[in-house]
């Protein structure tokens, strides 16, 4: 188990360093150069560009620049660059927005699990029934439905036509607000979790089906365990383990979905910040948010895998050979 944990952590660190390198290189690939992008076309005289490059260390060799970039990142608070459009550091622009996105992603993933696991089990218990087919068809539709369309339709129907829910969640919100004032979050969380519910329940269904076909289930039945006990005591416990891995693997997609959801519902998180910065040509902020959200995603996947290691007895007791 310790071996697995160490290897998995090293892997996450390598990925984070790699992502940092990609984001760093993207910043150096701006056509016309970073200086021209920051100064704007009318101020980008050769003299100003040379001055800007000297001031920001852009005249140094690439490896030296990367070293300085990394050194800036490991400080607290990390130096993510400077947003010339906002006239402040990218780190402070991001500030309160990260927790908002994290709470949106967290709440949606939680909801997806709470809904998808029972749905998947239900489909296995009543497999090949009308209910099974209906749920399969529904999950197919939600899986194909782009979240910007689903979010738009939910706003049109449930916020404008029937005014049950507000159009956007309260701006200054965190995980605490989701609990105290959940009304504004119903539509965004539903939008973000719809696709996840669809894919998780599909996976849960096949994972349960697989578990039901295993020898240990047959053994349990042969020893006289009742249907309920076999289902929940044996099959479910084993079927749940791969779901943990699935959460880790799905995180990048869920975070991408959060970007759309935040844009649809005008919720000031990392996604909306990225979109607005992109629309305003604020490249340092776009790169900064991309780096921060990716690190958060990688750490989230790492956490899911660590839980997986603790849940799966083959890893917990084995030498970590899986």
């Amino acid at each position: 188990m310790i071996g697995f944990l160490i290897r998995r952590t090293i892997q996450a660190v390598i990925v984070i360093i790699g992502v940092t390198a990609i984001v760093f290189l993207l910043g150096r690939l701006i056509p016309g150069g970073e200086a021209r992008a920051a100064l704007g076309p009318q101020h980008a005289t050769p003299f100003n560009i040379a001055h800007f490059n000297r001031l920001n260390g852009l005249d140094l060799p690439l490896w030296d620049q990367f070293y300085r970039y990394l050194r800036g990142l490991v400080h607290w608070p990390p130096n993510l660059g400077y947003s010339f459009r906002n006239n402040q550091g990218v780190t402070s622009v991001i500030g309160a927005r990260l927790p908002r996105t994290l709470s949106l992603v967290g709440a949606s993933t939680l909801l997806a699990l709470i809904v998808a696991v029972p749905l998947g089990i239900l489909q296995v218990v009543r497999r090949n029934s009308l209910l099974d087919y209906t749920l399969t068809a529904a999950s197919f539709i939600f899986y194909a439905m782009p979240s910007f369309l689903l979010g738009t339709l939910l706003i049109l129907w449930f916020a404008l036509d029937i005014k049950i829910f507000p159009v956007s969640p309260p701006g200054q919100s965190t995980f605490v607000t989701i609990l105290t004032d959940p009304r504004g979050f119903v539509l965004p969380v539903l939008t973000l979790s719809a696709i996840t519910i669809a894919s998780f329940s599909r996976y849960m269904r096949s994972s349960m089906m697989d578990a039901m076909a295993q020898d240990y289930v047959r053994t349990a039945t042969a020893k006289g365990a009742g249907g309920m006990r076999v289902l929940y005591g044996h099959a479910l416990r084993n079927a749940l383990i791969p779901i943990l891995t699935l959460i880790g693997l799905s995180l990048p997609a869920i975070v991408s979905g959060a970007l759309i959801t935040e844009t649809v519902f005008n919720y000031p998180g990392m996604g909306l910040l990225t979109v607005n910065s992109a629309l305003g040509d604020d490249i340092p902020t776009v790169l900064g948010t991309t780096l921060v959200i990716t690190v958060a995603t990688v750490l989230g996947s790492l956490l899911a895998d660590l839980l997986y290691a603790m849940a799966d007895p083959r890893i917990r007791f084995g030498g970590g050979s899986s």
């Binding site: 984001v23 910007f148 369309l149 089906m209 990048p252 970007l259 759309i260 776009v286 995603t297």
Partner: protein
């Protein structure tokens, strides 16, 4: 998934899996469309939209590029009826014509980026899997790292840095899409390169290039075709998502996502004809490609065919 494979059947099967010539693959694909109703529906929808977007404008003439003219000479946000079967948008462009015009961009970007992503991904994956060792480890880490960046964030960063233009959208969407086929084909190559017929080619002195191009890639063609079909749908969705957040094809050009996003800004005014046609087009095309892809997967993937 639940059915256990018949052990006898597994013994009877030839070791190298089923090899088939191009002719038999075409036949297999044709058989899918005869047997699978959903695949037929999907194919019909795709053909309909291709004709609608590319042949439609030849029969149904509308101004879609001159904003000035549209603003001056037509009614803005006109409801459906009269000379505008689906009304007009906020610039006075006819919605039906707009759907064709925007659909061209969506379909071209969808097909082209799926093509680029598939070609690059297949070449990369085949090389990585074939050579193995440290090169494989290095190449695959690069894929892992790119895959760990939430794709829309990477997409938006690329679009912001390299500016918006149609060829760029194709390359940028291809960049975030080639990673998955690279992984798939690498896995396939790892198993294919150990097969007898590949070793036979090696013994007979066939070059590495020949092995990859003539033996490994053709034997992965099922996986490749299935991926490419799904990828067209995904690419159309990615462009639509970009359009929706306001980073799509710049005006006076458009795409279905940009149309939807423009329509949504008038949601309070109840201009439904600016929202539903574009939204419906996206969904229909995406579902259609998924139907076709599902059917192809059932027909072409050897592992699944053994069910």
């Amino acid at each position: 998934m639940t059915q256990r494979e018949d052990p006898l059947e597994m013994v009877v099967l030839p070791e190298g899996g089923e090899a088939f010539s191009a002719g038999s693959m075409t036949r297999q694909i044709l058989r899918v469309f005869v047997e699978n109703k959903l695949a037929v529906v999907g194919a019909v929808i795709v053909v309909f939209f291709v004709l609608f977007c590319f042949v439609g404008p030849l029969l149904y003439h509308t101004n879609q590029t001159n904003t000035q003219d549209a603003l001056l000479n037509s009614v803005q946000n006109a409801p459906p009826g009269g000379s505008n079967p689906l009304g007009t948008d906020d610039n006075g462009f006819d919605i039906v014509g707009r759907l064709m015009f925007g659909g061209q961009a969506s379909l071209i970007v969808g097909f082209a980026s799926a093509f680029v992503a598939t070609v690059v991904g297949v070449a990369y994956g085949a090389l990585s899997g074939f050579f193995g060792g440290w090169l494989d480890a290095l190449l695959m880490r690069f894929v892992d790292i790119n895959l760990s960046i939430p794709s829309l964030f990477l997409l938006i960063a690329l679009v912001t840095i390299f500016r918006q233009s149609e060829p760029l959208f194709i390359l940028v969407i291809a960049y975030i899409s080639w990673l998955v086929p690279a992984r798939l084909i690498r896995g396939e190559t790892l198993s294919l390169r150990e097969r007898e017929y590949v070793q036979a080619v090696r013994i007979m002195g066939g070059s590495r290039r020949r092995i990859i191009a003539r033996h490994i890639v053709p034997n992965s063609i099922g996986t490749i075709v299935v991926f490419a079909t799904f990828q067209v749908a995904d690419s159309i969705l990615l462009l639509a998502a970009l359009g929706f957040v306001g980073l799509g094809i710049p005006a006076p050009g458009t795409d279905w996502g940009t149309m939807l996003s423009n329509g949504v800004s008038y949601a309070l005014s109840g201009y439904w004809w600016e929202i539903y046609p574009a939204g419906l087009s996206i969904i229909l095309v995406v579902i259609a490609f998924n139907f076709v892809g599902d059917a192809l997967r059932d027909a072409l993937e050897v592992r699944l065919r053994q069910r």
